[in-house]
Amino acid sequence: MIVGEQKPLAEIKEIVGPYRKLLILGCGTCVKTCFAGGEDEVATLASALRLIFKKEGQNIKIEEFTIERQCENEFIQEASEAIGRNDSVLSLACGAGVQAIARRFAKIPVLPGVNTTFIGVLESQGVFTEECSGCGNCELAIFGGVCPITRCSKKLLNGPCGGSRHGICEVSPDTECAWQLIIERLEALGQVHNLRCYISPKDWSSSNSGGPRRLVREDHII
């Protein structure tokens, strides 16, 4: 899922500052799961903002609304009435959601309330880890299911660098060395021979380096 994190209150306050009627729009999918933009977060943020504005004597009306997914028209449409009533929208969706809302409502500023962080996994309660960079060409099969492109700080494809110590990456003591994990996995799978394979340079054209991507499923288009 896409992991995001709510922006600091001060920043949100800054960006919504110019508007008088604000809709805080939540998204019930990924950002809800990572507690950045579901119903609860919308309510909490709205409450906090109201307190800020009340304290500063500003009169800003705040409305709350949450839709199932902000990246899909059918759901966005449900918010159109609420959006119409306001002069700005603070979207708590991921960047895709913010843009999807923005492109549907040309005349209303859509502001991001969440920093979209990465594609990740709920590792354990309250801990999210980045696991995928969306490179567009998955090669996890040879890496024993651990992605060196995302999880190795140097995107190394042919084994660990010299900075790995006790399975920890040189970048941060909180970061496991992806290559350590790959090696362990391959050992457990009996595929250590993969380590001897030379992995040729990554073709980045399928990733974001090839410009914004577009996926067309011809079979779904009529």
Binding site: P8, L9, A10, D40, A43, T44, S47, A48, R50, L51, I52, K54, K55
Partner: protein, 134 residues
Amino acid sequence: MNKPFKPKITLFHCINSFNESASLSLNGANNVEIKTVRLPCSSMVKDVFLLRSFESGADGVLVLVCPEDQCRYVEGSIRAKKRVGWVQNVLDEIGLDGRRLSIRNTSSGNGATTDKILQETVAVLTDLGPNPAA
């Protein structure tokens, strides 16, 4: 006319941690105005409830929960504490001062302790003055 400040406190309490009859004596105290919200478990305190209490004019919010090892739901008190901590930070960011919100562990039926906690809370609030966002 300078009326003495009489803090309004919203008291969230776990029904297991806090004896209702003890609260009656607190309600009688005249230096404070208390609104109580009973929770079946303190883990039902959501961030938004705490903030909304301030929105609706509370000068302070006090959360009374069971001691951590006595929660009937095992994790309720711990969760409540974490949420309160989170909201304290939010209050600091808002500029309301996180000290307006506090969480205390009380074991069931100990009226004397709750009285003391309440007086301490009142003291803190007297220090901080009325809720600027009320």
